[in-house]
Point group: C2
Chain length 386, copies 2
């Protein structure tokens, strides 16, 4: 970092490579995410030893890791992370989110843009994901959910894509909440590029995260790998809108694999944009969710985030009547009034019993007596409609 | 039927009352539907004996049945049913639908308008119900479902109300299918009155059914009673659109009580009209259904009415690649072309292995070689979007 002295740079490289942290950074450059052989190798031998063996040609695996070896400059990577103000996290770091350790193939390391501890930011978080080609309905619901989640103290995690992802991030920011974007490219890059400003805002109060080194481009396989991080970082994954081919369904699948709850937002059956959500509910047991309270309940701990009793439309007082009183009440006309003899026939109740029931209904304010006839007190809104 | 001779009428009355069928008709006049005491009485003593005991003042029950006795004219009821071309069905009749016997409180008898055997018409039927205050979306879905059901040979049963019910009946008729309306008033009446023509059409090819005698008005308690008949007559109940206070939810509850499948159609979470359907899925385990094929599967017998494999959007050929081939394919640019050395670095695969993979991809038509460089064959529609 102090100049162009080749020997110093070489010395720096050796020193860094001898640290487990920077050896993991090296591996994130050499190998694509989700390599089973590398995951085993790092577990068994650690990153420093494995890297030394790779350099010495002693690794039996034929994974093509050596193809990128000539281009590996750990000191350049270290320089780039510092220049881009990226933190490097490795397993065991304070900021390393525990959820990542549940993955079959955890990231070799993470690159994080943002000042806060990533583990803290995602401690109580929900993934809100969905189609890039979202409808206005989907965008509105994503925003409503994100707003409701941050107002309940939840962090919103998503992928910073067009459509649902962006709507969720933006609403979280608008609600002064924390939000985290997990990228398929380097955490220094903006993908899509028009989301540069959005990503800056996300980093300011939350985090922008990636498992590939700064400068890396987003491949399709990296999008799929990225989706498992979104699932693993959060307590539940909510798919707001998704066609049956939407990549957000892979995020749901990853959550399911991790035994984390998956929620899906229904929409019109006439909209292809909701077909993936409906398939999640029908075929995978995803929970149908209709608002942020239900999401919080799904993601929350039992007894902690239960949906509050929601306002129910006003009930008719008649809802609580016993069957006899109900029959009598039903027989009383709304207009015109009817004498008790007629009501006895209509309701099928003897006059002697009828009068007692009518008196009780009158006391409840459900019927009134006028000039020897009975009529209902005008019906209320919100009655059962049939 | 032959004149005003009082003695002949009295004789006719006695004769009819001494038949179990007409004694049940008498009971349907004297008692409201769903009377537990009457259900037990009919089971234990039959309708004729019970009626004789009521007339003799020997019944202990204080249900108010005697209040309507002075108005009971069985011969008038018989005359009215004939004049209105109503069939009377009682348990044991050929046309009596077996599903009704599963009810805790079966109807005392049924009044049916329509030439066909009711049991035949509902043998393979689905209830399609929902809000009167339906949205255009709900009306469209009800029509789509009913059309798809009758085209598969299912009868559509509903309640002839405004909104979802009417849309379902009308689409069934338009598809030349059978449809059955179950009314809360007498089967001779039109409720709502503007549905007179619709009910005539329904009766012509299917049936209009009620458990209350001709001429009777629809009370609210009779609507609720009617809903249990809709559930019991069919193999599944589908709620297309329902607010959380919709009466159609009681039809779903009756179906659940009978251990019959319940389906609910999702809609926008922003629509109060779908909130009842979403609550059915969330809270009662109703199956989310999005089209008629799924309804037929829900209502059908295992192995008979399975949803056919639905057309899936075209997959990318790349979907089926092994991970190594996939990495290589991902690394190949769409435009410009790249030499194999560069691809080896990008994909992280040794050149020696890379060339074999590229040759296989070329054979699959996924990449092409041009002037020593490789590029992707232009990507297809329908690819995973992220």
């Amino acid at each position: 970092m102090t100049g162009d002295d080749g020997r110093e740079a070489a010395g720096s490289r050796r020193t860094l490579e001898q640290e487990e942290r920077w050896a993991r950074v090296a591996w994130s450059f050499l190998a694509e995410p989700r390599s089973g052989p590398l995951t085993r190798l790092l577990e068994e031998s650690g990153a420093v030893d494995s890297l030394a063996r790779l350099r010495a040609g002693h690794l039996r695996q034929r994974e093509g890791w050596e193809a990128r070896l000539p281009d590996l400059r750990v000191d350049d990577l270290a320089h780039a992370t510092r220049r881009q103000k990226l933190k490097v996290l490795v397993p065991g770091d304070d900021g390393w989110p525990a959820g990542l350790d549940r993955l079959e193939h955890p990231p070799y390391c993470l690159y994080v843009r943002g000042a806060r501890s990533l583990a803290d930011v995602v401690e109580r978080s929900v993934a809100v994901v969905g189609s890039r080609a979202a409808t206005e309905y989907g965008m509105r619901v994503a925003a409503d959910f994100a707003d409701g989640l941050v107002s309940r103290g939840w962090t919103v995690v998503s992928g910073a894509a067009y459509g649902i992802d962006a709507a969720a991030h933006r609403a979280a920011l608008a609600g002064n909440g924390a939000t985290v974007a997990v990228l398929a490219c380097g955490a220094d890059r903006a993908y899509p590029s028009s989301h540069r400003g959005l990503l800056d805002e996300i980093a300011a109060g939350g985090a922008v995260v990636s498992e590939v080194p700064p400068g890396c481009a987003p491949f399709r396989s990296r999008f799929l790998a990225r989706n498992r991080l979104i699932a693993a970082l959060t307590r539940a994954t909510i798919v707001v809108e998704a066609s049956v081919r939407s990549g957000s369904l892979t995020t749901a699948r990853e959550a399911r694999t991790l035994h984390l709850p998956v929620g899906a937002v229904p929409g019109p059956v006439t909209s292809m944009g909701s077909a993936g959500c409906h398939a999640l509910v029908r075929e995978t047991g995803a929970v149908l969710v209709t608002d942020a309270a239900e999401v919080a309940e799904l993601a929350g701990r039992i007894g902690e985030d239960l949906v509050p009793d929601r306002p129910v439309p006003p009930r008719s007082p008649a809802d609580d009547l016993d069957p006899l009183s109900y029959s009598v009440w039903s027989a009383v006309p709304v207009r015109g009034g009817a004498p008790s003899e007629r009501l006895a026939v209509t309701a099928g109740v003897p006059v002697a019993r009828l009068l007692g029931v009518l008196a009780a209904l009158e006391a409840d304010g459900l019927v009134v007596r006028e000039a020897g006839t009975w009529r209902k007190v005008s019906p209320r809104r919100g009655e059962l409609e049939r």
